[in-house]
Symmetry: C2
Subunit: 294 residues, 2 copies
């Protein structure tokens, strides 16, 4: 099968590597806004050839959009327009509601499957791509009743080739859950980095002391600004709701510390410890519960 991948960064690049190696794709066509990324992807053997968007869509049986989410919204109507009626289009964006809303009335809406593989690192660009990024993680398909069954089947097959477990959600529920479980983590990490950079005048001190837990909590602060500002933009209502809860909780902690209420603070910390239940469950077990929620 010919697969065209639009956006040759960490996600698109890693996808290309696995789909080719595992025999799902016989030929991979790449498209990127950046000629430099296109050249790197070709030279690294991530894609077989580079084409313009229209040709890439016309030649493919499956088109995967792996760009930042604002670009998905811009490109999706155009791609559906170019697509042959047998061509399936999917995307890998971290927000889902707005893009689905934008193509709701498109005559080829049913050829589009909105999906989100929950995988990534803090690195970006084609050089960050690697084999196995998606293995044993979860992919979400949203509002599947809006897509043809045959289109869903093909996308499901693709995620099977990536060793991902599929779950189904409504787009709005997806965006809310993602705000709690992924987007706020990135905000807390970005803001933590800026807090330290703003006030900790001694860079040597940061260097020397970073092993005290800082490394892991601030890792996501290295993530792509372009990609994440678009996610926060498209999911702003939920992101603000979660931020308000987060700030409220921080203010509670500040108050307990300022008022020397350390027994109560310990109670809050023991509550936080219960997150262990979630984190210490291996991914394989985690995904053994299929669910669908509104």
């Amino acid at each position: 099968m010919i697969v065209s991948i639009i956006g040759l960064g960490l996600i698109g690049g890693s996808l290309a590597l696995d789909l080719k190696e595992r025999g799902f794709a016989s030929h991979i066509i790449g498209v990127d806004r950046s000629v430099e990324h296109e050249t790197i992807a070709l030279e690294m053997g991530i894609v077989d050839e580079i084409k313009d968007l229209q040709t890439a869509v016309e030649l493919a049986q499956l088109v995967v959009l792996a760009t930042p989410v604002n670009a998905v919204i811009q490109l999706l109507p155009k791609i559906l327009h170019y697509a042959d009626e047998a061509t399936v289009v999917t995307d890998m964006g971290s927000t889902k509601y707005q893009m689905i809303h934008e193509v709701a009335e498109h005559p080829k809406r049913k050829q589009f499957v909105a999906s989100h593989p929950m995988a990534g690192t803090e690195h970006s660009g084609p050089k960050a791509a690697f084999h196995g990024l998606f293995d044993h993680k979860v992919a979400i398909i949203c509002d599947q009743e809006g897509s043809d069954e045959s289109a869903i089947a093909l996308v499901r097959e693709m995620y099977n080739a990536l060793n991902m477990r599929l779950i189904y959600m409504e787009a709005m529920a997806h965006d809310l859950h993602a705000a709690y479980v992924s987007h706020i983590s990135h905000i807390s990490s970005f803001v933590l980095a800026n807090t330290v950079l703003a006030k900790e005048k001694s860079e040597t001190a940061i260097f020397n002391l970073a092993s005290g837990g800082f490394d892991s909590t601030v890792r996501l602060a290295k993530s792509s600004p372009k990609m994440w500002s678009q996610i926060f933009e498209q999911n702003s209502t939920h992101v603000i709701e979660v931020m308000d809860t987060y700030i409220e909780q921080l203010q509670l902690w500040r108050k307990l510390i300022a008022e020397n209420k350390f027994a109560e603070l310990e109670t809050e910390m023991r509550k936080a410890n219960t997150i262990r239940r979630v984190l210490d469950t291996p991914h394989v077990e985690r995904v053994n519960t299929t669910y669908k929620e509104a």
Copy 2:
């Protein structure tokens, strides 16, 4: 040399393992408030024998306090009292100013070296102990002018055996830097866990979506409540100062998102990206700058 370790958790246990294996200690005596921990440490071969506090101090050439910081403050005067005049006492606590202040007038103050190895994991107890925890990380000695040179020399030798790089700081500067680089990371992680647990009603959703960055930012939320509430208590002034900056920065981000100022948000994120400079420098390079600051 006989080394007595008071507190047989992750830190004390890992210390015992390496000091014995590397020949720094010929015999290790363990003391813990919990008989269960003492039994486990003995059965696992982490320590050679268990004694009461007084005997353990009397028999040792070096006594290492590896308890939570409130216990350090309680035990330190007693341990110095029991100590022979040739015995050196050090501690591994994450805050330094208050404990040094408490023993400032103690007749045996000069036998005490206040230190802080910047190493740890989110796990606790003797079963969490492992070889190599301290390797290639940084240890800090505070207010070294308060200690005998021979005492400093012995503690330096111990940290050399642990493959740690030593730096020297005033206690107050240590506590401020630690608040920025370590303590706030733990708070942000604990609070993030509680934010998600409070509002994300679907535990299955957390399970399934946790690979989207949540795992790493919330890892420290598994840390010991007893240990960390004492750190926040003893470092409350600095911790509150850092929390205020963190909350202020979060409010700025909330405002930029709510007001659709995503270009400005991207600027903030690019600022955060510069933390890369610090994080991507290997530990070995990081510590090649000796420094001492007020």
